[in-house]
């Protein structure tokens, strides 16, 4: 692969998962696919981190799960954002933007 893959920073996966769930509920595999697609294959989500992350977020009450039929009519576990999750998403997004902003300020220093 030409594109270099980047290891996710600790804690950023949770933010990406929350963001991916913002448009609507979906299942674990789909979340991984979407992150990969949207990041144009730069970010590859490892299943070994994805599922613990999903369970962690659920444990924290930011997302909730439900079994329903998937696009190919199989039973799949769908996750969706809870109101608390939405709040968390916007809070984390803001703090991420501040963080990257600060980083680029330093890196772009002439």
């Amino acid at each position: 692969m030409a594109n270099k893959k980047i290891d996710l920073l600790q804690g950023t996966l949770d933010l990406l998962v929350l963001k991916t769930l913002q448009p609507g509920p979906t299942h674990g595999w789909d979340i991984g696919q979407r992150i990969q697609q949207v990041s144009r294959d730069v970010l590859i989500v490892n299943q070994g981190s994805l599922y613990p992350s999903l369970h962690r977020l659920e444990q924290k009450g930011w997302i909730e799960s439900e079994w329903s039929a998937s696009e190919n009519n199989r039973r799949a576990k769908f996750y969706k954002l809870t109101p608390a999750g939405r709040k968390e998403l916007s809070a984390q997004t803001k703090s991420w933007e501040r963080f990257t902003g600060a980083i680029s300020l330093i890196l772009n220093q002439a």
């Binding site: 674990g28 299943q47 613990p52 369970h55 962690r56 444990q59 009450g61 799949a76």
Partner: protein
């Protein structure tokens, strides 16, 4: 937080369901991945393989998800718990040693704590006992403290003082009880009618004495007597009793008006409470100081306030009645302090001692754990390598030590129950409430607390240390390099030093107390109690009224009949048996001596004896003569005095021929002899001045204590003696028939109790400390086996090796010794009140104890050193 807990519990309950869901979820993922790969053009098989490959370890994912769910902690703990039990059971010796050490420490602690709680902390059975105070007289010029009060003074204080709600007085008056199940001599007390109102005790059956106008014949009885003599029958109320007091009014009967509650035991072991009618004669001043007095402070009044008020009143009295009251002051002491006296020092001391024992035990167990932890480093390293978290390891080790601690606590409680049983059976009666010591809930809580605390103390440090093990170095651990980390060694040495110093402090304390006891035992009581049996008789008043010449005849006959018993060499009798707990004082004046003021008479102990008494108990005559059969009614009244009398009142004047005078006819006569001082109260208290009178020349006492010197074991005669005395007065009451030595030993019982317990603790401490030193040195030797082997191979001799090991131990011992000696020097001052003619820093005790401890420690050190010399170099070099 709550939500989380609920989720966790649900997770645990539905564990299998959740696991199934997790499986299904991951399977779904895998299928989608495979499908995608197929779409990309891979074969079915290849697609599946790639999917699995990218998936990684499914079990690991599952594990992490479970971790997130939080069921893990509970599950793991359970797992650790089972693992810990397996480990402990697999090493039975280690576990047993640790448990036994802890059980000893905890058991002793719980027992002592229970005793302290029962005796000192548990509230007294009296309402608001913090308001109760004990009043006593003191007179600085006469050097008198803690004397009883004079009833006339008490009546003044009752009227004038504003600090007290109530002031009550009592006098002890043993009586013969007839009219119940079995005639018995019981402790009687005459009380002012407000006595139990002052204490705050209400009868459980019947009523208390009326405030005023209680008929003279009313009595209250103790719960114990009610059970013993009346079987707890309510019908006892109103029952008539003959108390054998009625010489002046024979046939006088007393009637029971109330029964006191079971827990009320004041004055100690009193069974019958009579009214103390205050008669006009009581208002005359200068009478005897024989009223024991308690008072209840008004709410909000402090002891200090009461003290300053009553001292003011006392000095007013001294001005008003200089003849009788000059120099007398009243001191106010809290009732608890009065009641517990030296127990207040002794019990906390024992508690401190026992805490030391526990600390030493804990140090030993910590040491064991540390050694274990070091030898388990490989096991731990493997677990770390397999991905166990450090916290997990620490937790597991902690669970292990907590389990050990709880097992120790469990056996400790059993041990404590045994100890308390022994204390109830064997403990001294003189310590109030000691006999009711039982394992109580606070003590149990204390035990559990101790078990947990020692679990943490001896578990955490080794656990922290063990988990720090570096995986690589440990797994590579080669015997030559793999010496124990410096930290562990230092810690273990610190433990040994600590143990030695604690043991030394304990041993010094015990040594001082033991030496005091020896000193006490070697006090010359002024009599020879061996081979002497005592037996008291209290005559029936009906047949032997006051003033009856029959009494003297009976006593004379008794002496003759007892002397005729086989095996008896001599017989005497005295009104107040030395060490028997009773005394009587009589005021007198020495004729021709004006130095003691006119009215303020001198007071001395007054005792009635038979002529043969001094010879029978082995008291030497110092000057003049003792009594003989010529001293009787009709011949001049003569006295024999003791040396203390001569010293106190005669200032070097020749006592023989000195005449005594006094208001009482009993005090008028001539001194004809001086006898050796006999201790009377106990061995610690100096002999007070006393004068003796022959039974044939005194208004004879209704009570006499016979002393019977025997050829063989005195107790073998007790049945015969009791039978003889009873046959002389069938209605008299015979009491206290036992060897004289037992009577004396009772007076040192509380001291002996402290001593025995302390000695046991000290011995325990020394054994534990020695085990600690031994263990540490053995381990050090085992660890240096290779090094020693090399030294031996290079030609070191056995003595060199021994020196090597012992010198290492000696450093620790000397350090422990220094710290311990300094500690003892500082701490033993707290036990000063328990010592008897021994200084708290007695150099000989310190020296001996130091030598003893150092010797034991050196032996503990030398055994492993000797073993080290036997190491075969070849074996040592191959040692793994």
């Amino acid at each position: 937080m709550f939500r989380k807990t609920v989720q966790r519990i649900r997770a645990l309950v539905h564990k299998s369901a959740l696991d199934r869901e997790l499986n299904e979820e991951l399977l779904f993922h895998l299928d989608r991945e495979t499908e995608q790969n197929i779409r990309r053009g891979f074969s079915d098989e290849e697609a599946r393989r790639l999917a699995l490959l990218s998936f990684g370890g499914a079990e690991k994912i599952k594990e992490e998800c479970r971790d997130v769910r939080g069921t893990h902690t509970i599950e793991e703990t359970w797992h650790d718990f089972r693992y810990a039990i397996r480990i402990l059971v697999k090493r039975p010796v280690f576990t047993a040693i640790a448990v036994v050490m802890l059980a000893l420490g905890i058991g002793a602690n719980v027992a002592i704590f229970s005793i302290i709680q029962t005796v000192l902390i548990r509230p007294l059975p009296y309402r608001n006992d913090e308001h109760l105070v004990w009043l006593s007289n003191r007179n600085a010029t006469l050097g008198v403290t803690n004397a009883f009060l004079n009833i006339a003074d008490i009546l003044d204080y009752r009227q004038q003082s504003k600090s007290f709600e109530n002031i009550a007085a009592w006098e002890t008056l043993p009586v013969n009880l007839y009219g119940a199940r079995k005639p018995e001599r019981v402790e009687g007390v005459s009380i002012t009618s407000n006595f139990f109102r002052t204490l705050g005790v209400q009868p459980v059956v019947g009523r208390d004495f009326a405030e005023n106008d209680e008929p003279e014949g009313s009595v209250l009885i103790s719960f114990n007597l009610w059970q013993r003599q009346f079987g707890g029958d309510v019908g006892a109320i109103g029952q008539k009793l003959n108390l054998g007091l009625g010489a002046s009014n024979p046939g006088d009967y007393y009637s029971i008006v109330g029964v006191l509650p079971a827990d009320s035991d004041f004055p100690q072991q009193a069974d019958i409470f009579m009214t103390w009618p205050i008669t006009p004669i009581d208002f005359t001043r200068g009478g005897s100081h024989n009223s024991r007095t308690i008072a209840r402070l008004k709410p909000g009044v402090t002891i200090e306030q009461a003290q300053s008020e009553i001292s003011g009143l006392a000095s007013q009295q001294a001005e008003q009645y200089p003849d009788t009251n000059r120099g007398w002051d009243v001191s106010v002491m809290s009732f608890r302090e009065y009641l517990f006296g030296t127990s207040r020092t002794a019990l906390p001391l024992l508690f401190a001692a026992v805490v030391f024992v526990l600390l030493i035990a804990c140090a030993n167990v910590a040491n064991l754990q540390l050694v274990r932890a070091v030898s388990r480093r490989k096991e731990i390293a493997i677990r770390l390598a397999l991905g166990a978290g450090r916290l997990r390891i620490i937790r597991q080790l902690l669970i292990e030590s907590l389990l050990t601690a709880f097992a120790g606590g469990f056996f400790g409680v059993i041990l404590a129950m045994g100890c308390l049983y022994a204390v109830r059976m064997l403990g001294p009666t003189a310590v109030p409430r000691l006999k009711s010591a039982t394992l109580n809930l606070p003590a149990l809580g204390f035990a559990v607390g101790l078990a947990v605390m020692s679990g943490i103390i001896f578990g955490l440090v080794p656990a922290l240390h063990a988990s720090r093990a570096e995986i690589n170095t440990t797994l590579k651990d080669s015997p030559s390099l793999g010496t124990t980390p410096v930290f562990a060694n230092r810690f273990r040495r610190a433990l040994v030093v600590g143990q030695i110093s604690l043991a030394l402090i304990l041993l010094t304390g015990a040594g001082l107390v033991i030496k005091s006891y020896w000193r006490l035992q070697s006090v010359d009581p002024g009599l020879k109690p061996d081979h002497v049996l005592t037996a008291g008789i209290s005559l029936s008043f009906a047949e032997y009224p006051n003033g009856s010449p029959q009494r003297a005849i009976l006593f004379h006959n008794a002496v003759e009949r007892l002397k005729a018993l086989p095996g008896v060499t001599s017989v005497g009798a005295i009104s107040h048996l030395p060490f028997g707990g009773r005394t009587m004082k009589l005021p007198f004046i020495i004729k021709g001596q004006d130095r003691i003021s006119e009215k303020n008479e001198a007071v001395a102990d007054y005792r009635v004896v038979t002529p043969s008494f001094f010879e029978t108990v082995g008291t030497n005559t110092k000057r003049g003569r003792t009594f003989n059969s010529g001293d009787r009614v009709g011949t001049p009244q003569v006295f024999v005095i003791n040396e203390a009398f001569a010293q106190t009142f005669l200032n070097g004047q020749d006592p023989i021929g000195v005449r005594l005078d006094g208001e009482s006819k009993s005090a008028r006569g001539e001194i004809v002899g001086v006898v050796e001082n006999m201790r009377h109260k106990d061995l610690e208290t100096d002999t007070t001045p006393a004068f003796y009178v022959s039974y044939e020349q005194s208004a004879t006492f209704p009570i006499m204590n016979f002393v019977i010197r025997t050829k063989s074991d005195p107790s073998s005669l007790s049945v015969a003696v009791e039978r003889e005395l009873q046959s002389l007065d069938p209605h008299g009451i015979i009491f206290n028939v036992r060897p004289f030595e037992d009577v004396i030993s009772d007076t040192v019982a509380p001291r002996r109790f402290t001593l025995q317990v302390l000695a046991i603790f000290a011995a325990l401490a020394v054994i534990l400390a020695a085990t600690g030193i031994y263990g540490t040195m053995s381990y050090a030797v085992a660890e240096r086996t290779r090094e020693i082997g090399i030294r031996v191979a290079l030609g070191a001799r056995g003595t060199d090796i021994q020196k090597l090991v012992v010198s290492e131990g000696t450093k620790l011992i000397v350090l422990g010794l220094i710290i311990g000696l300094c500690g003892s020097f500082v701490l033993t001052r707290w036990i000063r009140s328990l010592l008897f003619s021994v200084s708290a820093t007695d150099p000989i005790t310190f020296l001996i104890i130091g030598i003893v401890l150092v010797s034991i420690a050196l032996i503990a050190c030398w055994i492993p050193a000797r073993r080290a010399t036997k190491i075969e170099p070849l074996v040592a070099l191959k040692y793994e």
